[in-house]
């Protein structure tokens, strides 16, 4: 079934949809509204790239096929996505974006991965064309004075504030932490964010470990963690590296009171690979089907998830919802601006305060997501399920702290 998902995603992403037969029906009533971009459907970032791609397709398909298009300034439009596979390669992505700009595309969606979003955003910025994205959180995207780039997350150094607030509220209060991150654009700035947030929360930092971008062994790092054991170990890196660390921690019986892994435990495949050892692991999560927001188009998050499942069998993830919200945000900004001129839409995006099934969308003056409204929730694996333990208003379970040692989970 997954193979079918990938094929469907690739076909849909590289084609201009809706299909020709349907398009002829639309053509009589709706004008095309082209939104371009690239997504990593192959290469290192493909796993999450596919989620982002599926989110874009879900929203565009719903707006076109179910709602019959969107109305902007009295005109009916259908969304035409022109998304291409950038193969997780920044050089290829920039070429694709430049080509679309040359072809006259005015609006862009982001790829996945700060290393791709940053150079592509620089190109769209120069051309004064808006980009709304859910795949790049590195600070560099939002600190260069770009005016046309908007992100669905707070910048990386601000993303850890909710987790630090959770740590502060735990009983007995944790005193120390160590942080591990990999040497890539996102993880490095996220690691800096962990340090800033945890230091501000009064936790004492024991050690900071920087790993290469691709990790094959962490035994020496874990030996150091065993000799200088913190209360909380925070790992900010991609899910594959998170899994390697968790597996080696179990195998070498390296215990901490709480293991926080930025990316990983959100995924069912990750929890499955670790089995009962995934109990108690914490992670950031930005969306859940149970979030209470109302949505102008889908109704709410549950209805969005239902529609997604009619199109894809791939499990839903927060990047899917974030990507769909990018398109919704574009449409609502165009409706607010009563225009599809890039400058007018950019100004409307800067003033955005829209409720969607993903979150309430509001950007900072630098273009990243508002830290409170678009900041993360904290999840913890409890009885094999990811429960929300922070913030209090979204809580589905009480936090477990300290978590049992690995041998007690066996």
């Amino acid at each position: 079934m997954r193979r079918r998902d990938v094929l469907r995603g690739v076909a849909a992403a590289t084609a201009v949809f809706p299909a020709p037969a349907v398009r002829s029906a639309y053509a009589q009533t709706a004008k095309p509204l082209v939104i371009g971009g690239s997504v990593p459907l192959t290469g290192a970032a493909a796993e999450t790239g596919l989620n982002v791609n599926n989110g874009y397709i879900t929203a565009a398909s719903y707006l076109n096929d179910v709602l019959g298009g969107v109305e902007i300034a009295g005109e009916k439009y259908r969304i035409e996505l022109k998304l291409f596979d950038d193969a997780s390669d920044p050089a290829r992505a920039t070429t694709l974006i430049q080509r679309q700009l040359d072809d006259g595309t005015n609006f862009f969606l982001g790829s996945f991965g700060s290393n791709i979003v940053l150079p592509t955003a620089a190109i769209t910025e120069r051309a004064k064309k808006p980009m709304v994205q859910t795949g790049g959180g590195a600070d560099a995207i939002f600190t260069r004075g770009f005016k046309y780039v908007f992100g669905m997350f707070p910048r990386a150094t601000r993303q850890f504030a909710p987790a630090a607030a959770l740590f502060k509220s735990l009983k007995p209060a944790p005193q120390t932490y160590s942080v591990i991150y990999t040497n890539d654009a996102f993880s490095k700035t996220a690691g800096e964010g962990v340090r800033l947030a945890c230091d501000a929360a009064g936790l004492k930092r024991i050690e900071t470990y920087e790993l290469p971008a691709k990790v094959t062994d962490v035994s020496s790092v874990l030996a150091s963690v065993r000799s200088k054991t913190p209360d909380i170990l925070v790992c900010v890196m991609h899910d594959q590296d998170s899994l390697l660390i968790a597996r080696q921690m179990v195998a070498t019986n390296t215990n901490v009171k709480l293991l926080f892994q930025g990316l990983g435990p959100q995924l069912a495949s990750f929890r499955e690979a670790l089995g009962k050892y995934s109990e108690g692991l914490c992670c950031s999560t930005y969306w859940d089907e149970a979030v209470p927001y109302k949505d102008k188009f889908f109704g709410d998050a549950k209805k969005f998830a239902q529609y997604y499942r009619t199109k894809f069998t791939r499990p839903i993830a927060y990047h899917v919802a974030g990507a769909a919200a990018c398109i919704e945000t574009y449409v609502m900004a165009m409706q607010a601006a009563k225009s599809i001129k890039p400058e007018a839409v950019r100004d409307a995006l800067a003033k955005a305060d829209f409720e969607t099934m993903y979150a309430r969308i509001k950007f900072t003056p630098d273009g990243d997501g508002d830290a409170l409204l678009l900041g993360g929730m904290i999840g913890q694996v409890q009885k094999g399920k990811l429960e929300t333990i922070f913030p209090g208003e979204a809580r589905t379970a009480e936090p477990v702290y300290p978590t049992p040692t690995w041998d007690k989970k066996a």
Binding site: R2, A46, E47, S88, P212, S224, Q240, L244, T252, G275
Partner: protein
């Protein structure tokens, strides 16, 4: 003191796995003079085949080694005879470009078939560990190391004592003389490639047991194999073992005493130094004696 020993032990375990992952690359380079840039993808095919087979049959992934090796032996033979040999016949660089292209295509096919999601093979002992004299060993890595050493020994014995090994060595050392003695050189090249592909597949199983993997990882294993071969020398399991162990120990010692972000720096520094000082690797070219 115990930290030094622990670090060395971790390095040896990691190095044994690097060695197995590189031995096929080394053999192809030594005998066919082909830089096989699709080596990493053969490693990953082994990992995916083991995942599918062990899940379908409910057996330990290491028990799938013979079956996976057999499949890759056949595929490797056909790949060499039908594609690589034709490229070699036309231009010396053609084979490198061809293997690069094949790696890209196979990577995308794997994404279609298995999705780009990370996978992991989790045997029953995946999380077990044991201690000897205060040194903690990760059971799954030790079993992977044991499997690597056994396979490397088997390959060394095959090359040294079997009729196939003798023919491979003869062809690598004096291709024309072997041809004059009636050896079908193209067949031997294909057999060598088949053996190498089989060992790449076996390495994939061992790697899949200890590390999560996805189709995007193929370049990593081609690059590691390249470094191991430059360090240890071309064409022999002993060279691959020496290069692999050296790489593993350098990795863990650097991570422990210089910083976890520096293993790649020292790895490539060592590579450059060795290329300057001893370009044929520490053990030299195993087949160069009578060239």
């Amino acid at each position: 003191m115990s930290l030094v020993v622990q670090t060395l032990a971790d390095g040896l375990v990691l190095g044994g796995i690097y060695a197995l992952a590189a031995v096929g690359f080394s053999l192809i380079f030594g005998v066919l003079h082909v830089i096989n840039l699709s080596h990493g993808i053969l490693v990953l095919i082994g990992a995916y085949l083991a995942l599918v087979t062990s899940q379908a049959l409910g057996v330990d992934p290491l028990l799938t080694i013979p079956a996976v090796m057999a499949v890759l032996f056949g595929a490797g033979y056909a790949y060499q005879r039908l594609l690589i040999q034709r490229a070699v016949d036309r231009s010396p660089l053609g084979s490198m470009l061809l293997t690069f292209g094949v790696a890209l295509m196979l990577q995308n096919i794997m994404i279609w078939v298995f999705s780009p999601d990370m996978k992991s093979i989790t045997p029953s002992y995946a999380f077990a560990s044991f201690s000897v004299a205060g040194i903690t060993f990760d059971a799954v890595r030790v079993s992977a190391l044991a499997a690597s050493l056994v396979l490397l020994l088997c390959l060394a014995l095959l090359l040294k004592f079997s009729p196939l090994g003798r023919v491979i060595r003869a062809t690598a050392q004096q291709t024309l003389a072997a041809q004059l003695c009636g050896v079908n050189v193209k067949h031997v090249y294909a057999l060598t490639f088949a053996v190498s592909a089989a060992f790449a597949g076996a390495a994939g199983i061992v790697i899949g047991v200890i590390l999560p993997f996805s189709p995007a990882d193929e370049a990593l294993w081609t690059m590691n194999a390249f470094v191991v071969v430059v360090l240890g020398g071309v064409g022999s399991p002993a060279g691959a073992l020496l290069g692999g162990l050296l790489l593993g120990i350098v990795n863990t010692l650097t991570a422990q005493y210089v910083g976890p972000s520096f293993p790649n720096v020292t790895m490539f520094l060592l590579l450059v130094l060795l290329l300057l000082v001893r370009p044929n690797g520490l053990l030299g070219n195993a087949f160069s004696a009578s060239r």
